[in-house]
Symmetry: C2
Subunit: 197 residues, 2 copies
């Protein structure tokens, strides 16, 4: 490479980001160096700032800059509906479709015997508590249509059975599909046509 050890190290680290390989990392780093004042320095500043301020919402697990995330803090969001998602990427995908006006609960993964992920690791007790505390009337299980996602949905449904209306995203989510890969229209259709779980 002969680009100086620091530039090489930067390329190696960039190449570890999802969606970037060695080649695109090299191109990205060169572009940043070419636009040092416009790209490299502001990006580094922003990363330091985000690293210093980002945290998980104490209520829902979404990420934001405060103790409570923007969605949980917003008075415009309905309190009676909670949409349960696996991770923040799925929450963002739901938000882009702009069809859901309630609040979220981010599990941070799915139940997995193999990886020893139990209900405690997934904020499921916290979800059960919220259903009571926030007078929730509907929980939408917006988990991925994978085996682990559906296992997790069934487990949550068992915990909340009889205490709240349980629904899941319906038509439009393909078998084995993941929310974060769907277009906004598909998510909108799936949410509108949601059915009892």
């Amino acid at each position: 490479m002969s680009a100086g050890g620091d530039i090489e190290a930067l390329i190696d680290m960039m190449a570890r980001l999802p969606g970037l390989g060695p080649r695109s990392a090299r191109r990205a780093v060169l572009q940043m160096i070419r636009k040092k004042e416009l790209l490299l320095t502001p990006l580094a500043d922003l990363m330091h700032h985000v690293a210093a301020t980002v945290r998980e919402c104490a209520t829902c697990g979404n990420i934001g800059a405060g103790q409570i995330c923007d969605i949980c803090a917003s008075e415009k969001r309905a309190t009676g509906e909670i949409c349960v998602v696996e991770d923040v990427a799925d929450l963002w995908a739901m938000e882009r479709s702009a069809v859901f006006g309630g609040r979220y609960h981010v599990l941070g993964g799915t139940l997995s015997a193999l990886d020893a992920v139990g209900p405690e690791e997934l904020r499921i007790p916290k979800l059960v508590q919220r259903v009571t505390d926030e007078r929730v009337t509907e929980v939408i299980l917006a988990l991925n249509a994978t085996v682990d996602g559906q296992t997790t949905a069934h487990y949550i449904a068992d915990q909340l059975e009889g205490r709240v209306r349980l629904t899941s995203l319906a038509q439009g989510v393909p078998i084995g599909g993941e929310l974060d890969y769907l277009d906004d229209g598909t998510i909108t259709a799936a949410l509108r046509a949601r059915k009892a779980f």
Copy 2:
């Protein structure tokens, strides 16, 4: 997005890097936030460090951490051969093939009447000067096989005519192809089979 303004700003800026779109930028940013200590903070540190130290080599135009780049400073690199490339990505591509043991001259682009890029902007006078000062015997014109690349190669050949052996990369470079997209083997073959310009 509702991810907090700073996270959104970081995603927007990452999405401006080559090879990344909005979706991969979102995934990259989430991954960095998940691995804050391992990825986000070290990446920001490294970017600041590179922004503070990176500079163009006063001799060849390559980037590095000093006044003179690692290649120009190395006593192991032959001084009699200069390989002329359009940009640093092309230099890196040449270096990955590890077949060239001489030095480089990075033009920083190609001549272009349309974009008002003349010889001065491309370090061509500096190249002519190096040919004399460094007792260069061969100049390899490793410019992209595009119209502008070849126009630039001919212009440089005119300037150096009769003063040095002029060669160009030969077989293996496809018509309209760009060095940075070629595999290492193709570059090796093209350099080995270089022909008089």
